[in-house]
Subunit: 383 residues, 2 copies
């Protein structure tokens, strides 16, 4: 019913309200409010929430968002793993699970695991697949958001153009929303730590480097879903570094976890991955500390440009190399604060990611919830 | 009246519609539609637009947006000029005027000119000041959009923190919306040439260099209104150039109209401003052609990063140096297409500004119209 979704947005903050409070907020008449509240009660998206105190007479009934009405399946596909979670409609994780699997095995193998383990996880949460309102999926490559199809993903052979929503939706019978892993991580980190921040930049520093941009509280995906691609911006003095994209001097060829690991290995240390680099930093290796701080400085060169262009209020640094903590952040901060104009950094915070390895699934839950609980979607859902 | 503004948005495309067509589009009942159409007719924002063809019986009346119901005063304040225009509610320029004045004379002198000439211009358009629905103003410096106050504007002594909306609003009795000149120009260029483009970057290359970012069809202003500040991003090999901001190697210290003029002057040519540079290019000076193309390449280095980050579908190059045309655009395109990943440039167009010196006033009209005709504003206006 037209207007029910708009009314529902008011209730999504979880605060219980009476019919007359809702009438005051919206300016709608008593009968319009009554109709829409009834529709929402019928859908179970909203439930009774006790009674308000009365100034005399029968106390008026209150209503509130009921996040446990339905569930989501939230999926974070990495290069070598899949993390799954079942969440309620407030993106609260009910159960979660982790599997080692190579994304290069192709979409059918990986997504079959998602479907099978998804079903088991829903049962583990003592819910029914019928309670599923949607599936949110983050993939480690470019995704055409409108269709949910990967577009020339460099590390995902066999996935190009694969209809992920159709494949998963046919099995699980729910809306499927797909985006790239960094956008999903940005949603997750915002949800966990910065719900009131409308201008946020999430930078993932791992094997590669990428970013998710939140503008006006929404993901900025750009014209082709390619926005936030920090990893292939050219950095000063990087000409020696050949990037997997074919260009020279790209940020991720110089300052990613993989690039730092290569540099340390060449200096005789035993490191293969960003996780090994982090372990060395934690063990107090001066060479590793130095290399990570230098990577932070180089990332800071690119982020200084991003700050001039986007003027975010928060930059969140995540990804496996960010577990190195202070040395990486110190390098980033040093250059960003030196290179950016005072107006753009006056209120800027540069912080480490807070949600850890759960930011992907929490973000995937936000991705699908924002879609299925949008006003027009709720209008259709309750009709 | 609640919901009237939402109904009005449907009519803003100018297409005449009947009450029953509006009921079908909105899902609202006959009496709700009738009430709201009456309210809009009463405000004159919507007017009768003839009759639809009938399938028998009395033909139903049609209604359409009436852009001449009210007017705006649109103001483009530059470093050394003020351009004014009176427009209708569709941002169509009715009359326009240009004055030479130094912005450094301070806000009271400049804004008094705006108010006095604004009144005369409204009379010239045979309208009354009472018909003014709002005033849109672009200023050549950072503006805190929420308050309309300039924030530490480098070339505007006396303007810092000045309450522009209060000063102008007290005299003209209308809503006053202020933004920086590059954001306003982005709105104007989008309106004139790219109304359907939701991801656009407007780059102004003049005495300085700045940009206005349109994301999801709206200006991306950033946390402090400082977004789009391309001019102070560091460029490769620019260390020789000291910028007015105190840093070295900023884009505008190397590739602005002023920087190109200085370089040509040092090589013995007689040039003072970007306009002189453009005149030399048009006269076929090889040195000027070369310098402008080189400036384009340097701007392209920064725009390649902006493309990776924002993935716009259109980059519009405006400002006085853009009048040099092809040599500047060729330099920009050469570097952007070489340095950006294929996915981000597959559908990218890089074009010269189309609205010429009117983009500022057209954009200022759009700025204020978008505010005063927003759904909630119309709800209040017609009640």
């Amino acid at each position: 019913m037209e207007g029910t979704g708009a009314l529902f947005q008011i209730l999504r903050d979880g605060v219980p309200r009476t019919r007359s409070e809702l009438a005051t907020i919206t300016g709608l008449g008593r009968s319009s409010i009554a109709q829409r509240v009834d529709a929402l009660l019928g859908s179970a998206l909203v439930g009774p929430a006790g009674e308000a105190t009365s100034t005399g007479g029968r106390p008026p009934a209150q209503f509130a968002f009921n996040p446990s009405a339905r569930i989501t399946l939230a999926v974070d596909v990495g290069a070598t793993h899949v993390r799954l979670a079942v969440t309620d409609l407030a993106a609260h994780v009910l159960v979660t699970d982790w599997h080692s699997i190579d994304v290069a095995l192709g979409p059918e193998k990986v997504l079959r695991l998602v479907i099978e383990r998804g079903r088991e996880l829903i049962a583990e949460a003592s819910r029914d697949v019928g309670a599923l309102i949607g599936v949110g999926i983050g993939l480690p490559g470019p995704v055409e958001h409108a269709t949910g199809k990967p577009r020339n993903p460099p590390i995902m052979p066999g996935w190009d153009g694969f209809d992920v929503p159709a494949f998963v939706g046919a099995e699980l019978g729910a809306t499927v929303i797909v985006d790239n892993d960094v956008n999903v991580m940005a949603l997750g980190e915002r949800f966990v730590g910065f719900r009131d921040v409308d201008q946020l930049l999430l930078v993932k520093v791992a094997t590669g480097i990428g970013s998710g941009i939140i503008s006006h509280g929404e993901l900025h995906r750009g014209a082709d879903g390619a926005a936030g691609d920090l990893g292939h911006i050219q950095v000063p003095n990087g000409e020696h570094a050949l990037c997997r994209c074919g260009n020279r001097g790209c940020l991720e060829a110089v300052a990613s976890g993989a690039a730092v690991a290569v540099a340390l290995r060449e200096s005789g240390l035993e490191v293969a991955t960003s996780r090994d680099v982090v372990a060395l930093v934690r063990a107090g290796s001066v060479a590793a500390l130095h290399a990570v701080r230098d990577a932070g400085r180089t990332i800071g060169e690119v982020l200084a440009s991003a700050v001039s262009l986007l003027n975010p209020s928060v930059i969140v640094i995540g990804g496996s190399l960010s577990m190195a903590g202070d040395p990486l952040l110190a390098g980033v901060r040093e250059v960003v604060y030196r290179r950016s104009l005072p107006l753009a950094t006056a209120n800027l915070r540069i912080v480490q990611a807070a949600a850890g390895d759960r930011s992907g699934v929490i973000g995937a839950a936000c991705l699908v919830i924002d879609d299925v609980l949008a006003p027009a979607a709720v209008d259709r859902y309750v009709s």
